[in-house]
């Protein structure tokens, strides 16, 4: 009877052992393979990372020069702050450029409003009252529409509304004078 009992016990233990060992060994072998694969990847990527870093370091001077050039241009065109004093000088430069004895261009007022913050950029709205000849009015529109070019130092702006009145002169030879109020958005970072 004891023999039978022990025989059955041996059999059960054998089954248990084989089942547990085989199952666990598979997991162990897989984990070991994975670890070996990772060791190979570590060697490979150590090399790749240092090559990529070396590539970047080699070109860093060029990249930094480009960054500096862009930053310099953006200081006037798309500055970090609203920089309204520089903008005011820009607008005075417009008046200087456009006004002459035969074609008037007079900025009578500039009124800056509260900045508006956005996701990618911020806006400084302002309003101007101007008296101008028709020719200079169109020139003024072109200046605003062309603002923000990287070749110029003119602040990036956009006209959001214009209200203008023609002071129609009867004299064919004298140019019509336009009085207009223009609402402009000046952009910054």
């Amino acid at each position: 009877m004891y023999i039978k009992t022990y025989a059955v016990l041996c059999f059960i233990l054998t089954i248990l052992f084989v089942w547990y060992f085989v199952g666990s060994w598979r997991g162990y072998a897989q984990t070991k393979d994975n670890h070996l694969t990772n060791q190979e990847l570590i060697n490979e990527y150590k090399q790749k990372a240092s090559l990529e870093k070396a590539d970047y370091e080699k070109n860093k001077t060029t990249f930094d020069q480009l960054q500096d050039e862009i930053s310099t241009k953006l200081k006037d065109i798309f500055p970090v702050n609203d920089n309204y004093t520089a903008l005011t000088r820009n607008l005075d430069d417009f008046e200087k450029e456009l006004a002459n004895s035969s074609n008037i261009f007079e900025i009578s007022s500039i009124d800056y409003q509260s900045p508006v913050e956005g996701k990618e950029y911020n806006i400084l709205p302002f309003r101007m009252n101007i008296r101008s000849s028709e020719k200079n009015f169109r020139e003024f529109l072109h200046l605003i529409e062309g603002s923000g070019a990287l070749t110029d130092n003119i602040r990036l702006m956009e006209i959001s509304s214009i209200r203008l009145n023609f002071e129609n002169s009867e004299d064919e030879t004298s140019p019509d004078v336009i009085s207009f109020t223009v609402q402009i958005n000046a952009y910054y970072q």
Binding site: Y2, I3, Y6, A7, L9, C10, L13, T14, L16, F17, F21, G27, Y28, T31, K32, N34, H35, N38, Q39, L41, I42, Y45, K48, A49, E52, K53, Y56, N59, T62, F63, L66, Q67, E69, I70, S71, L74, F78, V80, E120, Y121, R138, L141, H142, E145, G148, A149, L150, T151, L156, E158, I159, S161, I162, R163, L164, N165, F166, N168, E170, E172
Partner: protein, 423 residues
Amino acid sequence: MSQEDTNKAPQADNSLINPLDVQKSGVAEGTQNEVIKGIVDAGTAGPQEKLLDAAPEIDMSLLENATVQKSPILMILKWSSGFLVFLLFASFIFFNSQLSTRLDVVTSAVNLPNLSQNLESSTAEVIKLKTDENFYRFLQLKAYLDLFSFDGDAFIRNYDSIIGKSTSEAQRQVAKEDIEDVKRSLAQSFEKAREKIKVDISAPLASNKSRKDLEDLFLKSLQDELKAKSKDLKKNKSEGAQIESKNLTHISKLVGNKKLKSLLLKTDFASLSDEEIYALVKDMNKLVVNDLSTIQKIKEERVKWSEIINQIELSTVAVDSYYNQKSRYDIVGGIRYTSYDFDTNEKRVTISGETKRIDNQNFSMIARLIDEFNNSDLFENAEMKTFNKSGTFLEGYTANLKLSFDLDQGETEAKKNKKVSKK
């Protein structure tokens, strides 16, 4: 059975001898013990015979050399069971020490390496190294895309000069020369950006994770690295550090940008015409986030009021051929504007003025003007619902004009680009 039978003690079989009777045979009758005898008397007194001989004496010395007979099979089975239990226990200990952290206390005490922990740390090492590689690669990608945007701005300006109707011939010639240099630079930065973006962001980690999960893992790792570095730089208040911090934020928007990757990989820059390069630059600016692309987006959304005013004049001249000739207005009449009201937010224009006619056809003139505006590419929904005039048959009539119309939606740089690409 009767009541008397139940009260009477049972009588024993006389042939049987009760040992108690034998012992009690010496007791004289008629004594007080008779009662006792009567109690214990089983009535079995008979001939006294000994059945058994004297009990044998056991010789213990014989047992001293006696051994139990052992079964070999049983021994084997016992030993096997014990061995199997030991094996089971040992393999349990081994696999748990290698594949889990349950026995960390023991393994660390005896300095036994844990395979699962080694795998974890090697996996983390691979992720870190690949993230480092990705980081430097994306720094370069951003620089090449910035260069592309920078040259792209010059390309757009030159191209606009070449196709612009108001450009002088000299300006057009200069623009044509410049554009060739810019194109070469654009091609170089485009190819370099393509080389950087085509590299797989993930590593072939030995893992059960799917390809997509692995990619997400490496994307997240790179994003976290960029965020952490940007945050560190932000603490430094210097301008250079702030710009660097912002650049890293821009780079994080390039990571995982599938549309940008697809555009860079699918486009053969060398085979593009100038028009197609123009469109490509605009498309790239929409997908790339940097200051230059932001500026370009703002420019594209700008309304060109000078063109609006030009079109108003053209539409007016189509109705009043003497428009803007002051002397003619008083003689033959016509249209004269007194004010414009342009609103970018509403995309709406209101014109005020008056019409003067000698032949009292003011309302027809205004109606033709409304039709002209509606037929133009730039305007829609032109209307004026109230007409009134005053004057005399001899001196002519003057009618007030207050006309509103909408800008044709999308008449911005973006719409103009469509027209360019259609040419």
